[in-house]
């Protein structure tokens, strides 16, 4: 059984999403890439989803659009979680940044960018965070081989 607030949210938000459902523990919304910032703003102002948990991406290699960017939010008032998913193509993997709404977006978007190559429009600081300067490629994409190392220091003989 899920809290009643989820039904209310489903009713209010479903018209603007391509798909909306209630999973065992959370509301899941699929929105087009251009609507992400608006949906997040509505979630924050209307439904008190004040804690930005996570942004990550899934690489569906072989499908178009290739990348699925997944956001998770939590409402400290209603104690519910929301997942927002959007698809972006490989040719233009651009999504709006959530930095105007949440300060936590800074680091998480940097990580998503360096791992998958998703560009967050509006986040000026997309320097490598977990990887290092000089690393080429995006390692969590399915076509990056796991064992391709790019050493910074040459090995001893």
């Amino acid at each position: 059984m899920h809290p009643a607030i989820l039904d209310l949210m489903l009713e209010k938000l479903a018209p603007s999403c391509s798909e909306a459902s209630i999973s065992p523990r959370m509301l899941v919304l699929s929105v087009p890439a251009t609507a992400v910032l608006d949906t997040a703003r509505r979630l924050k102002t209307d439904f008190a989803c004040d804690l930005f948990l996570d942004v990550t991406a899934v690489d569906w290699l072989g499908h178009t659009p290739r990348f699925e960017v997944v956001y998770h939010f939590y409402s400290t008032e209603h104690k519910i979680r929301v997942r927002v998913k959007t698809r972006v193509p490989e040719s233009e993997p651009v999504v709006d940044s959530l930095l105007p709404l949440y300060g936590a977006a800074a680091f998480m978007e940097r990580e998503c960018h360096e791992m998958y190559g998703i560009v967050f429009r509006g986040n000026a600081d997309l320097r490598p965070l977990l990887l290092y300067e000089g690393f080429e490629g995006h390692p969590l994409r399915k076509d990056y081989p796991k064992t391709r190392e790019q050493p910074l220091v040459s090995y001893r003989k």
Partner: protein
């Protein structure tokens, strides 16, 4: 449990290259024993700590596994002041230049302990991010297996390293003495 191995270090020979007069050899051996004894019981580790092995490093430095009994407890967090580089935890490619810089900043004599499976061989992180063993970057004197190694294994490693220091040649004035 007590199965640390000692790496071959291809630098300082155990004894002087050419034969010298027996009195010189006698004094040289005695000097080596004295200096070896002093050096082995006053190791100043530089704990280059990164990952989970740090917890076992903390455990081995404190009660009840105390490394202070072996003289190897006082860490010196400056490479200029330490002589044992304990690489504790996984070294990634991002961290590798830092490790090399710290190693080069240490003065002779210096020893390196590869603490844990990740420092020895990369552990089970065989991917784009982790260096598969720090001996690809710096020479290692003693490898301590375990993920993380039990404190007793670490103490065994320190004792084996101390034996090695005691037996090796310590040129302090010239290359031969």
């Amino acid at each position: 449990m007590n199965n640390s191995t000692v790496a071959a270090r291809a630098t300082i020979p155990i004894r002087a290259a050419s034969a010298r007069n027996p009195a010189f050899e006698y004094f040289s051996t005695k000097k080596d024993e004295l200096v070896g004894w002093a050096r082995k019981f006053s190791l100043f580790p530089y704990p280059f700590v990164t990952a989970c092995c740090a917890m076992e490093f903390m455990a081995v430095s404190s009660t009840p596994y105390d490394t202070d009994r072996f003289g190897a407890a006082l860490p010196r967090f400056s490479p200029r002041q330490s002589d044992l580089l304990m690489v504790v935890g996984t070294i990634t490619h991002k961290q590798a230049p830092v490790l090399l810089k710290v190693y080069e900043q240490m003065c002779e004599p210096k020893w390196v302990m590869a603490f844990g499976a990740c420092a020895t061989s990369g552990g089970f992180y065989q991917n784009y991010a982790a260096v598969a063993g720090i001996d690809k970057i710096i020479p290692v004197d003693i490898y301590v297996p375990g993920c993380p190694p039990r404190p007793e294994t670490v103490i065994d490693a320190i004792m084996k390293l101390q034996d090695r220091i005691a037996r090796s040649h310590h040129p302090i004035i010239t290359e031969n003495f």
